[in-house]
């Protein structure tokens, strides 16, 4: 547990669980993949190639919207959806930081068991 940069994890920690939960579904992941072209898409376009009903797709989009991964904008009578990459980037940063902490802890464990570092009893 290296102390460096640990404070930086706090905002990411708070937002990561809902983002992970929202992305924990194949349909929603495929919607995110479609939206990751940076364009705004109508529900009709997002339904293309999917076996799901328009209502089901809409429900999934609302879940993504709730986690702020996706934004909807009105265009005349229809809603267009676009991706906000920030929350996904933030959870990636969070996981990467936790992962780095483990790299450092495991390398301390390695010296501890291999070289008999101080503290060995």
């Amino acid at each position: 547990m290296s102390p460096r940069r640990r404070g930086d994890l706090e905002p990411a920690r708070r937002t990561s669980a809902p983002v992970f939960a929202a992305l924990g579904d194949d349909t929603r992941l495929s919607l995110v993949a479609k939206l990751s072209d940076g364009q705004r898409h109508s529900i009709t376009r997002l339904c293309l190639g999917s076996a799901l009903t328009r209502q089901a797709i809409t429900k999934h989009l609302r879940v993504l919207e709730g986690a702020r991964i996706v934004r909807s904008v009105r265009s005349g009578r229809e809603s267009l959806f676009e991706l906000d990459p920030a929350p996904i980037r933030q959870v990636r940063t969070y996981i990467d930081s936790v992962s780095e902490q483990w790299d450092r802890a495991l390398s301390r464990l390695k010296s501890f068991v291999e070289d008999g570092a101080p503290g060995q009893g």
């Binding site: 547990m1 290296s2 939960a21 990751s36 996904i88 936790v98 483990w102 464990l109 068991v113 060995q120």
Partner: protein, 154 residues
């Protein structure tokens, strides 16, 4: 490969019983991890102690010990690197840390996993999520590179 998890594998030039002791003896764990633990690890019980890294001694480290299967598996749940003394972590779902030990030619292969970042206990996870073979981190990398590529396009 699984889902929303961190997985690390490290080969140690020390026999399994030595590594097991470094992981599960609270004084030895504390020495390399950087925490001064109050007492031995007991499955089902909270382990607690002060962080020993200079400048971070005001932080209390806490975990709930889950399983101790001698020389095979050691696990605990915690709030990953929880350091904000003002934050109330009790409302958040903890993640699960698992250390698995395997003997390899006199040494030890240690596999560490940390899972549960989505806040959903693994037993209640939807099947589709568990079946997602590429894994979380990879999925997110893919999405990110998609986004980056879209931005580069004229």
């Amino acid at each position: 490969m699984s889902t929303d998890r961190i997985e690390k594998r490290i080969d140690l030039k020390a026999p399994v019983p030595r590594v097991w002791r470094a992981l599960t003896d609270h004084r030895e764990f504390g020495a390399w991890f950087g925490v001064n633990l109050e007492g031995p690890f007991v499955p089902g019980k909270v382990a607690r102690g002060r962080v020993t890294h200079p400048g971070y001694e005001h932080i209390t480290w806490e975990a709930v010990i889950q399983r101790m299967e001698p020389e095979r598996l050691f696990s605990f749940t915690w709030h990953p690197f929880a350091v904000d003394t003002k934050a109330d972590y009790t409302k958040e779902a903890p993640t699960l840390i698992e250390f698995r030990l395997e003997s390899i030619g006199g040494g030890t292969r240690l596999t560490l996993t940390e899972s549960g970042f989505d806040g959903i206990p693994s037993g209640r996870r939807p099947e589709a999520f568990r079946m997602n073979e590429q894994g979380w981190t990879q999925q997110m990398k893919n999405i990110e590179s998609h986004v980056a590529a879209a931005k580069r396009r004229p």
